[in-house]
Amino acid sequence: MALPKIIGVETEYGVVLRGAPDPNPVLASSVLINAFVDRRKVGWDFDDEHPGHDARGFAREGAQPPDIETHLVNAVLTNGARYYVDHAHPEYSAPECSDALQCTMYDKAGERILARSMAAARNLIPQGQEVVTYKNNSDGKGNSYGCHENYLVDRATPFGSLVRHMTPFFVTRQIFCGAGKVGSENGAQRCDFQISQRADFFEEEVGLETTLKRPIINTRDEPHADPQKYRRLHVIVGDANLCEVSTFLKVGTTAIVLNMIEDDFFDREFVLTGPVPAMRSVSHDPTLRTVLGLADGTSATALELQWEYFRLARKYADERGHDASGGEAVGELVLTQWERVLTALESDPRQLDGVLDWVTKYQLLRNYVERDGLEWSDAKLALLDIQYHDVRPDKSIYEKLVRAGKIERLLDEDEVVVAMVEPPPTTRAYFRGKLLEKWPDSVVAANWDSVILDTGSDPLRRIPMMEPLRGTKIHTEALFRDCSTPRQLVEQLSS
């Protein structure tokens, strides 16, 4: 039986400090987080961070948790998220979610948190300066920053099966979850417009790196949960999305495909002869006609391969249900939306203007090309590309399209606002978030799989949370209601 897919999405935002004589992105990112976290910050506990552990069974020497400077600004939020400075970017790691729709909501809540941070940061920096963030993945000059997805996978599933079935899936899923980009970079062939922000940056099939020679399958083995039972598949090929349907399908379809691998449901495999060049060739062809070679001598387009995955997923759901895919309602919504976008991509992708990011951006840019007679190399198009992702509500082109009624939404905005502060009720993020809400001064540190409490007497108490599906609202609501101090809570937990 496939494990219920717990999903978490982490997004590094592009950041600019405008009006500063010597703009420092680390400082700008720190200002944002400090501005948002107005109460006493709760630190992140790095004890369980092992980014050098490799899923293939070895640890890389010299791999360290993030730089010491980032310890300075590292906050845990009451919605269960982690908000911190990673390298030179503000990063929002959404809380663990139990279905694709919830995941989409907490990803969107992250955008609202960044927007509020930017507004609050105005009080912390000199007049005339402004911190601006962009939810994109590239500066168009060869520098990329990531939007990573994480999926809880059964440790018993052979890593090789994940590599075999996920590689062609990741190469082809960009046709619905790409965020679109003007031009190419990182030595890729020239093009006017491509489907994905990230495709140009993938140079290996499998590997541990995330910052150079990026692999399609990342082998980081750091489950943040019981390592005997679980693996966390760390997916680095995705783009950050603004369109809710794109985010929803990105995580929803990936979760179902992982479930099919865990349940050994594949009756055939699609081995690409060259997955790395295929990443680029799929991205570089908005007409979706590019044919990919398969190892059995046949060939298929990205769309045809996605239809194969879809058909198998439909059959899987009919036979096994949606228990591991976020339940009946969400699982069916994933399949309905998946089929609908593949059908539209096949007949005329323009039908998905306002539904998928790359189509929406491409259509907007084509309208400009036509109206203003622009060449694709015109700086105005590159500007529109970047500003589509501007997180400031009044400057974001995406938000402009939302307000004009041009974007199809899946979420209720009122619920998104609640998700900025309330944790998802269905995972351990609930316990983390509620502890912070109730006793912020007693939570000394927290990370994904534990919290450290100061109960007023030595020593500090560490509460392990190795099971992502424990510590939910159902498990702990009464505990929070009945305990009036953190000490009582610890006593209750250990009794």
Partner: protein
């Protein structure tokens, strides 16, 4: 907003009946185009002022 002033297509005079047939969708097409123009104008009004300078200076450090 110079793009708002649209040139009127000269209306064909002969064959009244075909004009009858195409006029409804044509009108709708005009309306869509007008709406699109308004939207692009509105986007233009929030765009950063110097595109070339903005794009040149948008440089990020690699992340992840």
């Amino acid at each position: 907003m110079p793009e708002r002033e649209r040139k009127q297509k000269p209306a064909p005079r002969e064959r009244e009946e075909t004009v009858e047939e195409v006029s409804a969708p044509a009108k709708q097409g005009e309306k869509i185009k007008e709406e699109l123009d308004d939207l692009l104008d509105e986007i233009d009004s929030v765009l950063e002022t110097n595109a070339e300078e903005f794009v040149r200076s948008y440089v990020q450090k690699g992340g992840e």
